[in-house]
Chain length 194, copies 2
Amino acid sequence: MAAKTWPDSLAGMDLDEFLHRAEDLHGHLSPGVVAGAFMVDRASREHVPGEYLNAVVETVVCLPDAVQILTPCSLGNGFMQVLDWGKFAITLYDRMTLRGVRAWLDPAAVKGNQIVAGWYLRPPDAGKVDKEVVIRELFSCGRELVKSAPVKLGAALKSTEKVPTGLCPVCGESYPLRQGPSCLACQGQGYYRL
Amino acid sequence: MAAKTWPDSLAGMDLDEFLHRAEDLHGHLSPGVVAGAFMVDRASREHVPGEYLNAVVETVVCLPDAVQILTPCSLGNGFMQVLDWGKFAITLYDRMTLRGVRAWLDPAAVKGNQIVAGWYLRPPDAGKVDKEVVIRELFSCGRELVKSAPVKLGAALKSTEKVPTGLCPVCGESYPLRQGPSCLACQGQGYYRL
């Protein structure tokens, strides 16, 4: 399946296994998930993942799935934090030492690769992007397009406080009491109507 | 593995497959993931999932992983939206018709189940919760503890707009231009230092 220059594995996961899991979780293979996989791979190489591995993802698009596939961190287990910053970058860190490695897709390197640049930098003159071609190119040279730097966090991003909860007097459901006398939906912030 | 009264499948997924995937994504089986699975199961039964299935999860804790395991919706593919509301509820809906079903763990029903109540309602006199026991109890009677209602959304929660991006003049990375003259990290909101 993989061409000669593709890596056999990413972040310690066999490439076929990665492709299979990407299909399962993400539904299809996207350039963002593949680029994310190379970021996780890079950060993993420079930061030996220990017992206390946490992740930060700086965009909601694609990258969270790469992290969820390739690390033990998920949104639901709280070890992956997601910032809606619109930046194609991730950090893996140790929540005890707060030390880790941030990895990102480097625009300077991407600029030299016409195929990836057409997708990532969205030049005004770029025609329709063929994502299959971008994915193949990323598998071939993703390692050259990712940069990384050691970082230290100011604090662990996973909250460990116990949040006091109670029943909303309007809908009767459980909610965090700090939000006020009723839950956010009953305060008018609901995204739905019955 | 499953006791007599446990369901054979949840939301169309074989129970053993669900247990296996929960281990993979979440790292372990938690009461929240199991409760979430029963919510997805309930919402799936009442809302035949079509081509345009989207999900809303009303807490960052545990439930997002149940949705990611049992539906085609993930955080990274954009079909699962997550609200940090602290409510144990999910909605599955069709992004074309905006109609769907919301399902939640019903405190009134949970109250009658001492084991699940000790975990979910956190009564002040509850001792240490044995999560294994809670999980077993949820598998046995999760269906009785989940309520649901048909809902209609005001708008699809997945954003489809193309966000103009450019290079941050400070760090050189790509970022959404609407955030200002530099990226959020370079505006001082970074969670890390080099």
